[in-house]
């Protein structure tokens, strides 16, 4: 390469292996093979780094994603698994001038889609005038008849859209798919940006890359403005943690500061949409829907939907809520619509499309069908009402005149027989962009998802996006599910760009905003998270006490050892396995609760819990009974303490934290009462009192606090009645009393609630009790009383 042949860090080195395939456009190189100027700083930067440095740079980005817990769900057959986020570290770089033109076309298309939807759910002039064939609407499962005639309260059906775009061989951009239903990816675009920024921090600061924050701020402010006179909540509706984009829903809810709700949080009351919170029903004014329309209301839409809020459509009909996008927006995603967009644009906007979409022919029309039939080799043919993108080839599509599996007979017959159900789309040739593969830049096909949001002044386009990069040169292998990766998109300006953040730039007076009311379901999950974590902690201590005595005992069974065994097995903890299933199950349930409220959790807290469960599983098969298990349990107990510490140190004292604290206190109170009822009983085995102190983590305290040997009264005093001992029952009653007093009350009443009354009674009983009166029966009743508090909490806050 170099003229001298010496090994020098030649500036061209990063491009040594970069040879774009013939007949496609390339993002990095011009057709004549020279570098596009917007890429020069990136290539110079890479040229100045040796392979180790590059690896270190990339590792920083990966570490960020790992720490942030960005993952995606991969489906293989019936199974699904979480996978690391496949970031392609090299961003796609696009110049500002080109981008502005593109954004203009996107904004026009967004408005065109709005008008199309208004027509399809209103006067249907497109059909009446013969511009759009009626069957493409009437047979589209996403055209929702109950929505016909409903006018959105905000006057607009669409507020947030995504567009899948690709660059054709002549360098021009094409829309490959409109994403109008409930487009995802904006949050992932943000995460890609955060990760890429860590890889190329200096370069990013120097190269005038447009920031994304202003786009989100404008959108957030718009949603807040869209609230009606009821000034209710702004919320994001997610299908829940099992959906492949749940991470993004939780992320964006936290980023924008909106409630994250599931269908069961919502209820329709007198035509209004309400969220069940810990202080009763509160109106929801704006709902950003991330759930497909058909599943939103089992009463009026898909009756088989297990998700959904009965009466949701009714709340739109009565104009009580603004939903974005409005139910039924999925009708616009059908491939066949692409064939008619140029004419629809003329008809509804009086304008030509500024940004064309991929050439599409609906085969229900004789001449179109004939054209597709004559040009099979450069066509993708597939279901007309499919919402898939033209490069997503599966068994329902034919490419180049052939089915992928050759099982269906001749394509031409298929076309003649099912014309009305099929479209032909020009086979996609995507541009290539550099990806770092085995230390070399290689050209890979890409598409970009761009995002548009409605503001009060019209559509605004996010200056950036979410690129998908193919694993191989085959453009049909672009999807993450088939091993593709994703990359950030940099829109680069010649001039310095504004660097404002989400919170805007102007310092000045501010108000301290209290967050919205806690949804009842979130309270429930946090309360039980607290209970499960504490139960796991108690169980680990009891198991440890058992296993350590197994070692001591040297063959002759100690009475207390047998008693511990019976105590554990009586609670379903079968001791054949060193770490019983039920114990592992507790950690799993704790993690399950946390995963349903990820928007309310710091990433660190979540990670601590995730790690804890993983560690327990790893240890479960790997240790023997006795001392080894005891040590393993000590290790897990330290992790549990770590989680508790994180939560206490980092979580803001919102209602959610209070419910979690109450869950922990309540569980600890129940467990200690129960333990004492057995281990301080008159017939308890020798050594029981010491075991109770050990499980109650109060051995040292006891030694310091009492001048006598352990006896029943000192142990009951310390573990039940000592208000200074954070492990005692009365201490838990104090925590409960304190926390519940700070929870919002139903109505404005200052009276004690049922929960308050019950807690106060437990606390008072304990305050005046002596060890002598707290016999086993009284301790068992104490456990029951605390359990009754738990039931009352459910009735009052989560019912």
């Amino acid at each position: 390469m170099g003229e001298t042949g010496a090994v020098t860090p030649a500036r061209k080195a990063p491009l040594d292996h970069y040879l774009p395939p013939k007949g496609v456009a390339d993002e990095l190189l011009r057709p004549d093979g020279t570098l596009r100027p917007v890429w020069k700083p990136m290539i110079d930067h890479l040229a100045g780094r040796n392979p180790d440095q590059v690896n270190q740079d990339f590792a920083r980005g990966d570490l960020y994603l790992q720490d942030a817990g960005v993952y995606y769900r991969q489906y293989t057959g019936d199974e699904s698994a979480l996978r690391d986020w496949p970031l392609s570290h090299i961003p796609v770089i696009i110049g500002e001038t080109e981008w502005s033109k593109l954004a203009e076309g996107i904004a026009q298309r967004a408005e065109l889609l709005e008008r199309t939807m208004a027509d399809l759910y209103g006067p249907a002039t497109l059909v009446k005038r013969g511009i759009l064939p009626p069957q493409l609407v009437a047979r589209n499962p996403e055209w929702l008849r109950p929505m016909v005639g409903i006018k959105p309260r905000s006057d607009h059906y669409l507020h947030f859209l995504a567009f899948e775009i690709g660059r054709s061989p002549d360098g021009s951009w094409l829309v490959l798919g409109d994403r109008t239903q409930a487009p995802s990816g904006a949050g992932f675009a943000l995460e890609n940006r955060m990760a890429t920024l860590r890889v190329f921090n200096d370069l990013y600061q120097e190269t005038n890359v447009h920031r994304l924050a202003a786009f989100f701020r404008t959108f957030r402010d718009r949603l807040t403005q869209l609230r009606g006179p009821e000034q209710g909540q702004v919320a994001i509706l997610t299908p829940g943690q099992n959906t492949d984009t749940y991470f993004e829903h939780a992320y964006i809810a936290r980023y924008l500061g909106f409630l994250l709700l599931e269908s069961e949080d919502l209820v329709s009351v007198d035509g209004k949409l309400m969220v069940r919170t810990i202080s009763g029903l509160e109106p929801v004014s704006v709902l950003w829907r991330r759930l497909d329309s058909r599943f939103a209301d089992p009463l009026e839409l898909d009756e088989s939907s297990a998700l959904g809020t009965p009466g949701m459509v009714g709340t739109l009909r009565s104009g009580a809520v603004t939903m974005l996008n409005c139910l039924g927006s999925g009708v616009l995603e059908a491939r066949a619509l692409m064939a008619f967009m140029p004419r629809i644009s003329e008809a509804l906007m009086g304008e030509r499309l500024k940004l064309p979409n991929i050439a599409t022919w609906w085969c229900g029309q004789a001449s179109e069908r004939a054209y597709v039939g004559e040009n099979l080799e450069r066509m993708m043919i597939g279901p007309a009402l499919s919402t898939q993108l033209p490069f997503e080839i599966d068994s329902s599509t034919a490419l180049g005149g052939r089915f992928r599996d050759n099982a269906r007979g001749p394509v031409r017959d298929w076309l003649d027989k099912n014309g009305g159900a099929l479209v032909g789309q020009q086979a996609v040739t995507l541009s290539t962009t550099p990806a770092m593969i085995d230390g070399k830049l290689m050209p890979r096909p890409m598409v970009v998802r761009v995002f548009a949001a409605r503001t009060k002044d019209g559509w605004t386009v996010m200056p950036g996006g979410y690129a998908r990069i193919g694993r191989t040169e085959d453009p049909t292998a672009l999807a993450m599910q088939s091993g593709g990766s994703v990359a950030d998109v940099w829109v680069v300006s010649d001039a310095p760009v504004s660097t404002e953040t989400l919170s805007g730039q102007q310092p000045g007076p501010f108000i301290r905003r209290m967050p919205g009311r806690l949804p009842a379901r979130a309270a429930d999950n946090l309360f039980w998270l607290g209970r499960y974590v504490e139960r796991a902690d108690f169980t680990a201590r009891t198991l440890r006490a058992y296993h350590l005595r197994l070692e001591d005992n040297g063959g002759t069974p100690m009475p207390v050892f047998d008693q511990l065994g019976r105590y554990l097995e009586g609670r379903g903890l079968y001791l054949a396995e060193p770490l019983p299933d039920l114990f592992l199950n507790l950690l799993e349930r704790a993690r399950g609760c946390a995963s349903k409220v990820r928007d309310r959790f710091s990433d660190d807290g979540w990670y601590a819990l995730d790690e804890l469960e993983g560690a327990a599983r790893d240890l479960a098969g790997a240790v023997d009974h006795g001392d080894a298990t005891g040590r393993a349990l000590s290790q897990l107990l330290r992790k549990l303490a770590g989680f508790a510490g994180l939560v206490n140190d980092n979580m803001f004292r919102f209602s959610g934290w209070r419910f979690m604290s109450m869950g922990r206190a309540l569980e600890r109170g129940v467990q200690i009462s129960d333990l004492l009822a057995v281990f301080s009983a008159s017939g308890a085995a020798q050594g029981s009192l010491d075991a109770a102190l050990e499980i109650g983590d109060s051995v040292m305290t006891h030694r310091r606090r009492y001048s006598v040997e352990t006896n029943r009264n000192t142990v009951v005093d310390l573990l039940a009645l000592d208000p200074e001992n954070p492990r005692s029952v009365i201490y838990q009653a104090g925590v409960l009393l304190d926390q519940q007093a700070k929870l919002p009350r139903p109505g404005k009443s200052s009276q004690l609630t049922e929960v308050g009354r019950r807690i106060l009674r437990v606390h008072t009983d304990l305050s005046v009790a002596t060890p002598e009166v707290l016999d086993s029966a009284a301790l068992a009743k104490l456990a029951d009383d605390l359990q009754a508090v738990s039931d009352a909490i459910h009735t009052q806050y989560m019912g």
């Binding site: 249907a124 009626p134 008849r145 329709s268 089992p298 009026e300 009466g311």
Partner: protein, 305 residues
């Protein structure tokens, strides 16, 4: 003919059903040969929320919601309906082969447009065995109306009316495979049979006169809500209604309540319960002809319409 109609539906829940919400389609409407003279739809206990409106297809729809737990709930429609025979038209329908062209001449998404009734719907998706059945007994050069009547006759012969063979959730493919079912199944099968060969077809829920006129046999399906089929026979003839369970054109003994693409669009009670245990339903219908002493022409059109 003037009828007094009572329709009662009772739901009983094993566990109290909290926060129930339902959509009722129990009130007949007006049509070319039908007039609702008077009608009342009531629920016991009374709902916390009620709204009456019409749905996409023009059916009367009542929304109800309860905010207190329910053990049992009774819905009851009582009303008086005038129903006349439809004149038998000449068969001017187009040939089956021309349906595609006929459809192309209807650029409309109005509720009555045939396009809604051709594709898959919630309860009726294309069933190859049923399509093969209708292909086997019809020809492309036959008039559509003749085709529709032939399919009704064939299904009537083929399928045994058997209330024990199916339930409200049975899909048409299963009922057809067993050759057994009730009016709902037979109607769904016929809808699949018609759509399979390109004829738009919908579902009608309604009532039959309980006791037949002197000397005529009692019709099947008279003790409960009945169902039949409407088929679109091209632009000249438009929609016709036919009852394949009894293999007869719909006439003065049929009172229609609601129309839709299939049962899911017209279910008399569609409910959603936040926490439901096992529930049972009971439903009964009485359709009694009224001795006409005084004319009731004051309401609506005259009986000579």
């Amino acid at each position: 003919m003037l009828y007094d109609v009572t329709l009662s539906v009772r739901y009983a829940y094993a566990l109290s059903a909290a926060a129930a919400r339902m959509h009722l389609r129990m009130m007949p409407g007006n049509g070319p040969a039908q007039r609702l003279v008077s009608g009342l739809l009531q629920a016991d206990p009374a709902p916390a929320f009620r709204r009456d409106r019409v749905d996409f297809f023009g059916n009367a729809l009542t929304e109800m919601a309860y905010d207190a737990p329910l053990d049992t709930v009774d819905f009851r429609f009582t009303g008086r309906i005038r129903r006349d025979d439809l004149p038998k038209e000449l068969d001017l329908s187009c040939a089956l082969a021309d349906m595609r062209r006929e459809l192309a001449e209807v650029p409309s998404l109005a509720p009555d447009a045939p396009h809604h009734f051709l594709g898959a719907s919630d309860r009726v998706v294309p069933v190859p065995s049923i399509t093969a059945f209708s292909r086997g007994i019809t020809r492309l050069d036959q008039p559509v109306l003749t085709v529709v009547e032939a399919i009704s006759r064939a299904l009537h012969e083929e399928i045994t009316f058997d209330p024990t063979a199916t339930d409200v959730t049975t899909d048409p493919a299963t009922a057809f495979a067993n050759r057994r079912g009730v009016c709902q199944d037979i109607s769904h099968i016929m809808i699949a049979a018609l759509r399979g060969i390109g004829i738009p077809a919908g579902y009608v829920s309604g009532f039959l006169r309980t006791e037949p006129p002197e000397g005529q046999p009692r019709l099947a399906g008279a003790d409960a809500m009945h169902a039949w089929v409407r088929a679109w026979c091209g632009n000249e003839v438009g929609w016709i209604e036919i009852d394949p369970t009894n293999d007869m054109r719909v006439g003065a003994d049929h009172i229609s309540v609601a129309i839709g693409r299939d049962y899911a669009d017209v279910a008399p009670v569609k409910g959603s319960l936040r926490s439901s245990g096992f529930h049972s339903t009971r439903h009964s219908v009485d359709v009694i002809p009224v001795e006409e002493r005084t004319p009731v022409e004051a309401v609506g059109r005259s009986s000579t319409d």
